[in-house]
């Protein structure tokens, strides 16, 4: 591992000031010399592998702003401080009652130990588990821009079928992000150019021909909070995750679903898909296909077809299209049948 200087900034403005001193506006946060660390479950792993090579780590855990560690439920919705740990949010009574899809997505992610360590903001910024990204001897356009993509013709069973490009097919593996994009969450960030709000759907960038640009954040910007709007009907929501083993595995396919129903007719549907795309993936076409329809097996299957209409299979991951569709159909019908 590359040696690094370790600092514990006292508050957000100090953290931003140090970060801007040691980074430039052209730096990607994941490639900058100075990087932030909170839980460390993703970054420490990638530093050990030589994928991440900061020479200065800014530990955010001692920041004094107490809002960073709080979950606040108000009439406007719910606000998660960036440093709240996944386990705490998963077990939060009002999160479980009002937004089951959020609690499910956190509970089904990682392991008990990792959920105790990982911050919510760090979780949404977790980097891909693509084997060719993780192992530095392979070509990878995300790790070394322009070097090529070994996954394209390699063993790509885990890889994305949606949002891919000729440069990158690495899957976004997070679960929480799927709930957040489905519920129109907003991310609050602070950097040297001030504070701003980023709609969740604009936070992550599809790879295109610049897969090394993963998010909209600047290298000196810190996520401070994640806000989810009030949505009384989100009590009817869930996260369904399908994987190779029953627990502690990344999704092969998953679906975050929230339904506003009038009887069995869909007033509004919110759908996001995990394990199948390069970024958190809102399935807008599937949502529209359900609007005003009676939700049954036929309309659910039509929605699933719409969700995967643009899917691009590779040699080993074509199964994800059928699996993804069945996952979504089951998630839709189970959400319809929830007692709320």
């Amino acid at each position: 591992m590359r040696p690094f200087v370790y600092e514990q900034p006292a508050d957000i403005s100090a953290a931003v000031a140090i970060a801007s001193r040691f980074t430039t506006s052209d730096d990607q946060p994941t490639r900058a010399n100075a990087q932030f660390i909170a839980g460390g479950t993703n970054l420490a792993d990638y530093m050990k592998l030589g994928v991440a090579e900061p020479n200065r780590l800014l530990d955010l855990n001692r920041l004094k702003e107490s809002g960073l560690r709080q979950i606040r439920v108000t009439d406007d919705g719910i606000r998660f401080g960036a440093l709240v740990r996944m386990g705490e949010a998963a077990d939060h009574r009002e999160v479980k009652e009002r937004y089951p899809v959020i609690a499910d997505s956190l509970r089904l992610a990682a392991s008990g130990q990792i959920r105790n360590m990982a911050s919510l903001a760090g979780n949404i910024l977790q980097r891909t588990r693509c084997e060719y990204f993780r192992e530095t001897s392979w070509q990878c356009n995300k790790r070394v821009p322009g070097s090529g993509c070994a996954a394209m013709e390699g063993f790509n069973r885990q890889h994305a079928v949606l949002g891919d490009s000729d440069a990158c097919i690495a899957t976004y593996h997070g679960d929480f992000a799927q709930a957040l994009i489905a519920l129109d969450a907003v991310v609050h960030a602070e950097g040297s150019r001030g504070a701003r709000k980023i709609p969740f759907a604009k936070l992550h960038r599809q790879p295109g021909d610049t897969p090394h640009i993963e998010t909209d954040l600047a290298a000196d910007e810190i996520i401070t909070a994640i806000e989810v709007p009030a949505m009384p009907w989100a009590r009817r929501s869930l996260y369904l995750k399908i994987r190779d083993r029953e627990s502690y595995a990344f999704a092969l396919a998953s679906a975050a679903v929230a339904l506003d129903l009038d009887g069995e007719t869909v007033r509004e549907a919110r759908i996001a898909l995990g394990g199948v795309a390069t970024v958190p993936w809102r399935a807008g076409a599937a949502e529209q296909s359900l609007q005003g329809k009676k939700l049954d097996e036929t309309s659910a299957e039509a929605a699933a077809d719409a969700a995967f209409a643009q899917a691009q299979p590779r040699q080993h991951n074509a199964f994800k299209i059928e699996l993804g569709k069945r996952t979504l159909v089951r998630a839709l019908l189970e959400t319809r049948d929830m007692k709320v």
């Binding site: 690094f4 370790y6 780590l57 530990d59 855990n61 008990g112 502690y248």
Partner: protein, 205 residues
């Protein structure tokens, strides 16, 4: 826990050899009391060691560490507490689980310097001073919940964390919330039985 009987005829044991080596290596790194009370000098240069205060099993330690040292390596190689095991070293197996301020975490994915001032509990700190095992340790023996034993310290610490989180209410709960601890010998059914046995006593411990 009883010492493994690995002593050879001349009374030389691998465990004693390892322990001797570690304490000899660690001794120069232990800061003196006077140094510990002096203000910590912020690290400004790469590779400059950082003095890190850890309270491990209720004993204070001052360790002078390279910032790259994981909490796991600090425990094993610098504090000489080799009960915590290194499995994958990448957060995938759970063998390195310890409690930090009472919560179970993976010591391999945490830099030791980030734990300055924290309370760490490892498997060496579970038994009471009279040698009586923690209920969870006793339950692992009673239920035959290990074979090779390599994952066991992590399993036991994770099990205590799992119970204290309130996630050991049913067998299914235990299986789900203990999924971060892999046992290559597949002692899972007996691990579940051990946690059920020790659950109520652990809550009071």
């Amino acid at each position: 826990m009883s010492q493994p009987s690995v002593a050879s005829n001349n009374g030389f044991s691998r465990r004693r050899f390892m322990a001797g080596t570690v304490s000899a290596a660690a001794a120069p790194l232990l800061a003196s009391t006077a140094q510990a009370e002096a203000p910590v000098i912020p690290q400004t240069k790469l590779r400059q060691p950082v003095v890190t205060s850890l309270r491990i099993n209720e004993q204070p330690y001052e360790l002078s560490l390279d910032t790259r040292t994981s909490l796991l390596d600090a425990l094993r190689d610098h504090a000489g507490l080799t009960g915590t095991k290194k499995g994958c070293d990448h957060g995938q197996c759970g063998a390195c689980t310890v409690l930090v301020d009472g919560k179970r975490v993976l010591s391999c994915l945490s830099f030791a310097v980030m734990n300055d001032g924290k309370d760490i509990t490892t498997v060496e700190g579970l038994a009471s001073s009279d040698g009586k095992l923690h209920p969870m340790q006793q339950a692992f023996i009673d239920q035959d919940a290990f074979q090779c034993g390599y994952c066991t310290p992590g399993q036991i610490l994770s099990a205590i964390g799992c119970v204290n989180e309130g996630h050991a209410e049913s067998e299914n709960d235990i299986r789900e919330y203990m999924s971060g601890n892999i046992c290559r010998c597949a002692a899972y059914p007996n691990i579940v039985a051990a946690i059920l046995q020790a659950r109520d006593e652990t809550k009071g411990a």
